[in-house]
Amino acid sequence: MELGLMQRRLEDYTKSLFMEGLLDAQFLQLQQLQDESNPGFVGEVVSLFFDDSEKLLNELTSAMDQQIVDFRKVDSYVHQFKGSSSSIGAQRIKNVCILFRNYIEEQNIEACLRCLQQVKQEYYHVKSKLETLFRLEQQVLAAGGSIPAIEVTSF
């Protein structure tokens, strides 16, 4: 595929992630920090996020699976997940976590279980999208191109 086309595809794909509300300005902040001295920065942070999240989701699932749910523990995990997702700009995960914490406060197990499902779905969704994004970026870089800067219209 011709480089210009690849860059265009990357640009469109990136835009779509923001338009779907999957990513927010914090992700842009990370991209802004990436430079020649550390060209893999965003990928590294996101990779840490993936590892961290898998662990958290396992702990969360296990905690919710107990006969007697320890809501303080569950809250601590969700708080952590909210924090890390917010730090990389994974807006939808963050929003589900906020909702989740409300239900934890109410000690509403049914609603909490639904949130757990939802947060997992959102996580795997954004993971898949980000992996695609990085693949597209790699393709552009491998073809000797640079990641195109895109224009801000409105948020």
Binding site: E11, T14, K15, F18, M19, E20, G21, D24, A25, Q26, L28, Q29, L30, Q31, Q32, L33, D35, N38, F41, E44, V45, L48, F49, D52, S76, H79, Q80, K82, G83, S84, S86, S87, I88, G89, Q91, K94, N95, I98, I147, A149, I150, E151, V152, T153, S154, F155
Partner: protein
Amino acid sequence: MAAAGAVLRQKLPGNMDICGRSGKGSPEFHVLAVDDSLVDRKVIEKLLRSLSCKVTVVESGSRALQFLGLDGEDSSVGFDALPVNLIMTDYSMPGMTGYELLKKIKGSSAFREIPVVIMSSERILARINRCLEEGAEEFLSKPVKLSDVERLTRYLLRGEADQVSEFRKRKLPKTCDLEFSFPSSPLSNDSDSSSSSRSSSPLPKRCKSV
């Protein structure tokens, strides 16, 4: 954010070298960052490095005290290490909270003059006030942005005592100028926290934003 158009990725201006004084012979600004989240440690470290600061990142309050030599152990690590000019700590950490760390630092004759900044994803007024009263320089909302850190290091480096004490008198963190940041405030629409250390009212007039 749902109605987002396209996105601008700006490069940092070439002169964004707030902390480093390369070529001028002055020491570099050394920041000790404390956070139990691996992701956040990586981000804060990069934020600070991008401003040419020296950074030491640790995962807990007790590690921070260890680094400073305040842990009661007879280690001389503190003396050999580069002096710390600023401590940035997360509030919610297992074991010792950021607030508890703040108290220990302010309670130490050797380190009480080091400015301490608290970072938190939760904007609880009582918490903010408690930290400011205990001597925290500022309370930053997470996720921390480059503009927050840049503003912070800029005024701390100026070393104007008046500036610093004026700030401490305020109960709420001051608004910031958004010169270098993306228009993130309008995007923050979650219920419990907004963007950085601004008041909780709708975007203040002092902020220059889009």
